[in-house]
Subunit: 131 residues, 4 copies
Amino acid sequence: MQTTLQMLKTHPSATGIAPENLAAAIAKLYTCAQACTTCADACLGEKELSSLVPCIRANLDCADACLATGAMLSRVTHSPTDLLRSMLGTCVKACHQCAEECAKHASMHEHCRICSEACRSCEKACRDLMG
Amino acid sequence: MQTTLQMLKTHPSATGIAPENLAAAIAKLYTCAQACTTCADACLGEKELSSLVPCIRANLDCADACLATGAMLSRVTHSPTDLLRSMLGTCVKACHQCAEECAKHASMHEHCRICSEACRSCEKACRDLMG
Amino acid sequence: MQTTLQMLKTHPSATGIAPENLAAAIAKLYTCAQACTTCADACLGEKELSSLVPCIRANLDCADACLATGAMLSRVTHSPTDLLRSMLGTCVKACHQCAEECAKHASMHEHCRICSEACRSCEKACRDLMG
Amino acid sequence: MQTTLQMLKTHPSATGIAPENLAAAIAKLYTCAQACTTCADACLGEKELSSLVPCIRANLDCADACLATGAMLSRVTHSPTDLLRSMLGTCVKACHQCAEECAKHASMHEHCRICSEACRSCEKACRDLMG
């Protein structure tokens, strides 16, 4: 997050969002995308795999949504647009769905518990940016 | 699109969307993502580059939105969800914004004209899937 | 592929690769990425899921490699670089691995057979571009 | 990186790479992808834009390579494969090229200086994993 914050602060265009808030949200988006990618792979290695299929699908959707949102937010110049707001709203839904799905398996699989928390944290950051 | 259609038809789970419509939309999403990626690079090679900056930014946002939407649609099992509908709505906005921006330069740059058409075609396909 | 070819032909910078060959390879890369994304999801819906885990992992790796390669090739100006050659070589490996893995299940699952063919076709196109 | 490390440690399959080293590399890959995405956008906002075109192109290639590598590394089960080694080698080249290009503008643009450092750090982490 330190590198992201420095990048945002040295960007020539001002953004409507405080760089600290933006950097925090971007960090959570990439962290969540990474956690979801590993959670899908970890689920594929579990014995009761068939019960984890909805979790894997939610993981993959969430990772895609987070990366697209993270990239758009990283192009900071268009902060208050309608498109960005819509992308954030989509990401909120993807994170929410994945957090709920992972939470069902949190007591059995630590990776689902940790991933669920990463999703919730990312969901909140996206909601906050939507204002 | 032929490969995509075959993939969808041999998927074990039925989807709420007709495979032909789904395959057509997916093809347009990847085509649009590709066109936007090349359009951004082509704009970077033009002489009056500074006037094309908003076009390049719209290209990059649109490519990201199209790839995320294309991936979600390719995981066909969750067709009628709220998340997918939201992602399609976001992609409609990204395509619309990029089509408008490219259209401003269509008379001067053929790549902007072609990209604008790819965006409009993709925007329509996403709208149609939203029902 | 028609849109891609038009985009490449109207790009202001010449490329070291004939646009027809480049467009054909790019089309195969996006088609392969899409097929792998659907094949992973289709495998997740099959009954003998546990035997398909290596296939799903190969699908996900291959989709990521194809999209990164497709994006780099779509920024046509840097065609003959060392980086592009290396990316193509990586993509050849990803496609080869996924084609082999899918082929093991081709007699049981049509989606694996079709995906395997898409991977082989993409592998060949990448090899051809490497020269 | 804390979340990534926890995810890797709770993954059911052992990996050939120490989780601490893997988590550090993954963190650098996503950080570098993010920095490159913002650097490209920041360059687009600078006055002497035409001199920054090679930097923007290197940024975009590097971001794509880092995300593909980060995703493959996040699917930790296949650590010592030939494919992963090849992807890491490609990413080393992408990071190296972007670091060199950004370094040319580091004295004039802080974002290029910071991005160059993120690329060098990521290049080193990928080299170490190949080791």
